[in-house]
């Protein structure tokens, strides 16, 4: 009898300790407040083990803007991904701590939950979590040893608090998760185009003309003129499609000899040579220079490329070859054959993709600056 009671008691005490511990250490993050996204952007998912919570996003935002993440403690993610430029840096080739020009142009960070869920220009990582630590350890970007970074973060009281509220431990996985959670909230959905889609404003005649061209496949027989852009840049998001590698194509920037591996570097398939991620065109007027190597400085140059600068190669998208606004177009020299006026109208439409609120939204801005202001 005594032994049985003692056993019960022991069990009770153990359970109490375990439970108390559980409740104390296990963070209780709260579902992100005020979230809403446009219906037409489509379905999205977040990783089961990294839901959008207020705590994760707050932590991620701080990390994103903290130069502590770099080896010399001088350069944050926001060095290359600046809010006022829709999270790009305006450089042809970005430079990190090594001051060596990077081989790729910095892409905008926007509406990342939609579009291709393979990141970087060549799609070499499959989630934001997987991506987040790569710039930190890259010697030419932030050049930071991760164990050192963890020690540095552990030494900051605020990080102890933020991590314990959001995830628990300060470790690699949780750094990556927090950065990803913050980046997932970078939703741009209040451009002039969005307001047009919601029916609250009208586009000017030129912008509307450009919108029609943007969404139309040219059909010479039906005398329908078009720019064919939504064959690759989807109608609402303006990004590539999200199924598998559908959002990667070769849009004719280079001929066979100059073609970089692109997606082929990831899949090894020859038919993927020179395929790059179709980027979102949201805030495109703010994110010059353009293309994976920043080769074009203006949207007019981009239009000239699609209209008369297409280079032939074995993997050039057939969608580009087929789209033509004149009868019997020369397949050896693909061109949209748009007029000056039509090209200008498409550029006018591209300007409606600028979201003035997105680039000043304080939810996305540097928390350190806000703290200084409050002090």
């Amino acid at each position: 009898m005594k032994i049985k009671q003692a056993c019960y008691l022991l069990l009770a005490v153990t359970l109490m300790i375990v439970t108390a511990e559980y409740y104390q250490s296990k963070p209780r993050p709260t579902a992100l407040n005020g979230f809403s996204a446009p219906f037409v952007y489509g379905q999205f998912t977040t990783p089961q083990n990294n839901p959008l919570t207020n705590e994760a996003v707050a932590l991620g935002r701080r990390l994103f803007y903290d130069p502590l993440l770099s080896g010399n403690n001088k350069l944050a993610c926001s060095h290359c991904h600046q809010q006022k430029l829709a999270f790009t840096d305006g450089m042809k080739n970005s430079m990190g701590v090594s001051l060596k020009p990077l081989s790729f142009n910095t892409p905008s960070l926007v509406n990342l939950m939609w579009g291709p869920q393979h990141f970087f220009w060549d799609g070499r990582v499959n989630s934001l979590e997987e991506q987040a630590l790569l710039p930190i350890i890259n010697v030419d970007e932030m050049d930071q040893n991760l164990d050192e970074l963890i020690d540095e973060l552990k030494a900051v009281e605020q990080y102890q608090r933020l991590f314990s509220k959001a995830y628990g431990a300060i470790n690699k996985q949780n750094i990556a998760k927090a950065l990803s959670a913050f980046q997932r909230t970078l939703i741009s959905a209040n451009s002039k185009y969005d307001q047009f889609l919601a029916g609250t404003i009208k586009l000017t005649d030129e912008e509307e003309f450009g919108r029609k061209l943007f969404v139309a496949h040219p059909d010479v027989k039906a005398s329908l003129r078009g720019g064919n852009c939504i064959d690759c840049h989807s109608q609402f998001l303006t990004s590539g499609f999200n199924t598998k590698y559908d959002g990667f194509t070769n849009n004719g920037l280079d001929n066979e000899e100059q073609l970089l591996p692109g997606l082929q570097a990831v899949t090894g398939k020859p038919e993927h040579k020179g395929l790059f991620k179709v980027p979102s065109l949201r805030n495109i007027a703010l994110t010059a220079p353009y293309m994976h190597d920043g080769r074009f400085n203006t949207l007019a140059q981009v239009m000239d490329h699609y209209n008369e600068g297409i280079k032939l190669s074995s993997t050039l998208s057939p969608l580009i070859v087929e789209a033509n606004n004149i009868v019997n177009g020369n397949k050896k020299k693909p061109s949209l054959n748009l007029s000056m006026e039509e090209k200008k109208a498409i550029v006018a439409f591209l300007h409606t993709l600028t979201d003035e609120q997105f680039i000043i939204n304080t939810k996305f801005s540097d928390p350190f600056l806000q703290e200084i202001k409050i002090e």
Partner: protein, 438 residues
Amino acid sequence: MKSYLSITKYTILVCTALLITACSKEPVKQPDSEKSQALVLLRGLPTLDTKHSVAIIELDPESAKFGEILQDYELSNLAEPLHHLYYSPTGRLYATGLDINCSLAEIKLVRDLNGAPLIKGHHCLDTQGQVIGEDIMWHTSNGKEYMFVTFMGGGGLDQADGGSVGVFDPQTNDVVKIISARKSQVDAGKPYIMYPHGISAYKDRMVIASTIHPDLKTGVGSTITIIDLNSLSPIETITVEDAKPVGFPSSPVEVLFVRPSIVENVKPGVLVNTMFGFETWYIPFNEADKTFAEPVKIYNGVDEGTGVPLEFYGTKDELFISHAIPGVVKRYKLSSLPELVSSGPDIKAELGAHHMIFYPSSSGRKLIAVQNNLLNLGNQADNDPTDIDFIAKVNDHSLTIHDLTSSKRLKTINFKEKYNKGIENIEALFGSGFIHHH
């Protein structure tokens, strides 16, 4: 000692319970694919004490949630339900309505934190007094895009020959023009618009069908009317009728302007289903001089054992026509139009076979869901005052789900049994569904 033991036991119990709740409070669940989800308009049934609503429902037979209503957005201030759902080309969701105070509405959809669709609100639009909204289509007139809506009741139910087509600014939803031409107010032999329902268009010609007075007793139509989209006015009324199998006028209901954008290289022409004629007619269109030839009967329900043909829906390669009696959807080769050449066995739905959607299951199986209800009026057996005998019989209140390849039925959801509601209309979530409807 006894109480001591019970405290220990109690502690164990509480701790265990707490641990269980701690474990179950894991992060938000991931959504299922929404390709198999649909929007439905539901009618509250007066004798069953339910409210009209717009709902999102799961229709994947392979899902554990099959038949489940994921969100039921009640329209508690409406005496009559919303009638038909349509997406605009820019992804806005609209519904026509049977309530005198809500003949046309825009429904606000957003996405929640899980990426799932959420019905956030609705607002009834000013129709300048036009009532009983039926069909909507977006089309251009003089290079400008408009939203066209047929109002079967026109300026009011007291008009014995009412009916109009509302032309709306697709951005602001403002009325640009009400096209109306009541038979009693135009000279004899001149084109008129009466009880318009079906609508379709090709280039600068729009066609609307004259169906039935919304009170279902004042009058029945037998014509289609052509509208010139340059002037936004009716230019010709064509009778589409011969035999009267049930003694009523033919009651043309849905129309489809068959055109090259639907069927490659086709000579354009208009298909018309006559609700009480039980027929499908074809009216050839001469593009050169913009004239319509004599209507030709291409399907006779009396010979085929079908009645009350209703909708036209198209996929990439097939045309589907629903027949409320006996409740079948017939399928034809799109490429053979305007001839109706069968492309597969009948889809055996239920009495009232009406609207439909096309969608994939999670394993990629191609499916069709058919909504079986002519009109969701009540049944006399329920002591329902809205009962109209003939129509109550063609109301199964169900959705039947079939394999699109074999036409075989896989599942049935009876809304009256399951939710105490009728089902008025079905539409897939944006991005899937059908290709040609108008």
